[in-house]
Amino acid sequence: MSFELHARVAERDVSVALEVAEGETVAVLGPNGSGKSTLLAVAAGLLRPDSGRARLGDRVLFDLQGRGGAAGGRPGRGPWVPPHARGIALLAQEALLFPHLTVLDNVAFGARARGRSRAEAATHARSWLERVDAIELADRRPAELSGGQAQRIAVARALAADPALLLLDEPMAALDVSVAPALRRTLRAVLAGRSAVIVTHDVLDAFTLADRVVVLDAGRVVDSGPTAAVLERPRTAFAAGLTGVNLITGTAHRDGVRTAEGQFVDVRFVERVVDGAAVAVAVRPAAVALSAVEPRTSSRLPGRVTDVEPRGDVVRVRAGALAADVTPRRAAELDLAPGATVWFSFAADDTTAYPL
Amino acid sequence: AGQAAPSGDAAPSAASSGTADSLEGSITVFAAASLKATFTELAQEFEAAHPGVTVELSFAGSSDLVTQITEGAPADVFASADEKNMAKLTDAGLVDAGAPVDFATNVLTIAVPPGNPGTVEAFADLADPAVRTVICAAQVPCGAATATLETATGVTIPAVSEESSVTDVLGKVTSGEADAGLVYVTDVVAAGDAVEGVDIPEAAEAVNTYPIAPVAGSQNEAAAQAFVALVTGSTGRDVLTAAGFGAP
């Protein structure tokens, strides 16, 4: 079912809008404290916003008129569908398994709540436990689970509730690399054709699970659109950070871009861009070369090294927002240490430039 | 006051005749807690005499019983430990003004723990602050009697506690907590070996009188009257005297 929401929570300085088309999965990305969990809580009906409106299918979930614009104003009045009647399941950031129920009963909870028989609910729950690869935990109590196991059970519990809209808050955060791909596959199967919102810090989740992405920052939507478009052509430093690309912004200037600092970068525009328009340039760190002296290429930017991160076969060198991946040998040659000034350069062919 | 009371011999004669006893059903007797032993025995006598009647007994402090009757407790007979509480009921119209009959009296005595550790020999000894004496508070009948006795004898008792019931006074003495307590003669009798009594010759100055009366509007007035008759009659006299009560 399609879902539509806009809401303002004054106390947390969050004011967001979200749309999920029928069968679509939307990923919500954003820094810590940007309002992602708040958005989900409002959608699920656990938090009453000061004002706003939400609709799931034909049903209005709430339609609240703000009273008094000041922060701390009381939650607005208007129609309000309580959480249990919304058909929206929320997998919260903490697993919150019911401590008094076994794992099986936890997963069967939703079905039981909707009036299914004990046996029916148990069968249903068992099939979900199998799908998250946790059937052998069925008879344990939540207190006897490891963190990642608990998280997996929580995922199964939310999925088993078979909601019209599924909200997932960082479902993969505590999972190990050996289950994450399998669970991601399960989620992909489950989310296909189902309306869902997934909060994540992992760009891989966004790529594999989401049709569309919404980026929040400081309680506001700062970017949204199809996953590939948003992540491959990031408009914010946060979105760029997700995929790990360098984001350079400036104004279009003939065949290049002039940054705010006055540096000139050679790029290749795919679309026509008028001179002077605001543009962004994305470059992957692997395509960036480092040198101690200013190189002859036209695309080069100076930077003061802030961090040198060994990453196995490469070393990532950061200078503020700029990053380059170099081989350990090259890093050793350059004798990089935080504070050193280096030049970051790249070929125009390796850039993606687009209007902001 | 005994104009309504049947002759003391009516009930036993009815019982001994054993014929055509018109009394049946049940009656509830509200009696002061200090009457528990005697009235339990009298109720058995009454049931033996009138096989068709069962007697329910309810014991509590007299003032508790008055409150209960005032609030509609199903009492047929009320036996009070003092005249003041009976007066409350006659004032309220719950007992006919002329109905109460005095059926027993009680006088104060000094109870001391076995062995008399405080060596109390006479009422005047209680004036010694070294003797830990417990008395009743002036608000309750035994306390009123104590006060009367103090005035009459000119002895002032520096009590360590002024209890709200005789039972509490006796409790302090039996447990050895107090060296002496002013209680009724009947209490000392009932307590058996737990305490010793020291008689007070001046006790006659403060006699406590127990009145009994059927409660107005009783569902079983005849049986109530019969029970009152039993208590005030010779059977009652014997049982009460055995327990230490005096004649009215």
């Binding site: 019911f98 709540a113 109590r141 | 309810s58 209960q68």
Partner: protein, 271 residues
Amino acid sequence: MAGSTYGGVPRWVAVVAALGAAFVLLPLVAMLLRVNWAEFVPLITSESSLDALGLSLRTSLTSTALCVLLGVPMAIVLARTRFWGQKVLRSLVLLPLVLPPVVGGIALLYTFGRRGLLGQGFEAFGVTIAFSTTAVVLAQTFVALPFLVLSLEGALRTVGTRYEAVGATLGARPTTVLRRVTLPLVLPALVSGAVLSFARALGEFGATLTFAGSLQGVTRTLPLEIYLQRETDPDAAVALSLVLVVVAVVVVAVAHRAGEPAGLRPGRRAR
């Protein structure tokens, strides 16, 4: 979630606790020492004692059930909703705790007695409450209710609403959440509260005497019987008290065993 079995208790805490336990236990021991064991059995098996014990058990269990029935909703409303005058209401609900029982009995008489606020209405329908077994139950419920409400309300606040919220988003309506999430979570507190209520009801004396009277088999509960026995025979009273104590210990122990929540029991796996 890996289990922490941390359980550090400072030594001095244990010492003070032992002191406190001694303070409570010594009087019980002292009482035991004074019991006249020779007369013990005939005394406690006398007809009036058995009547009183039976009545006490029946009425206390009934009023505990009433306390649970009325108290659980009260605790939930106090813990989970906010309304004007809530704080005042919470204080008022606790009043039976502080009211001397005898005064509580008077208040009940003023309400359900023949001339009472509601009693007049009942009387019109031919229903008399005061001085019946019903009155005993009412008196016990009145004094015991605050125990349940208070202990449960605290637990509800401590547990918080997070699990309830999860239940709701899984489609459970409030009643289902209550039954399947809230109550199981606070079960230990509910059991404690019920035990407290039962104990208070079992020991109730003043209000019963005033409001229900003292009629063998109908309203004379064990504490009333003890009170009466004390008039004539303090030893008998102590012996009967011992019966009360034993009954209470058994009930408390059984309830605590039953109320131990499976989910919070430490350790061992189900299989």
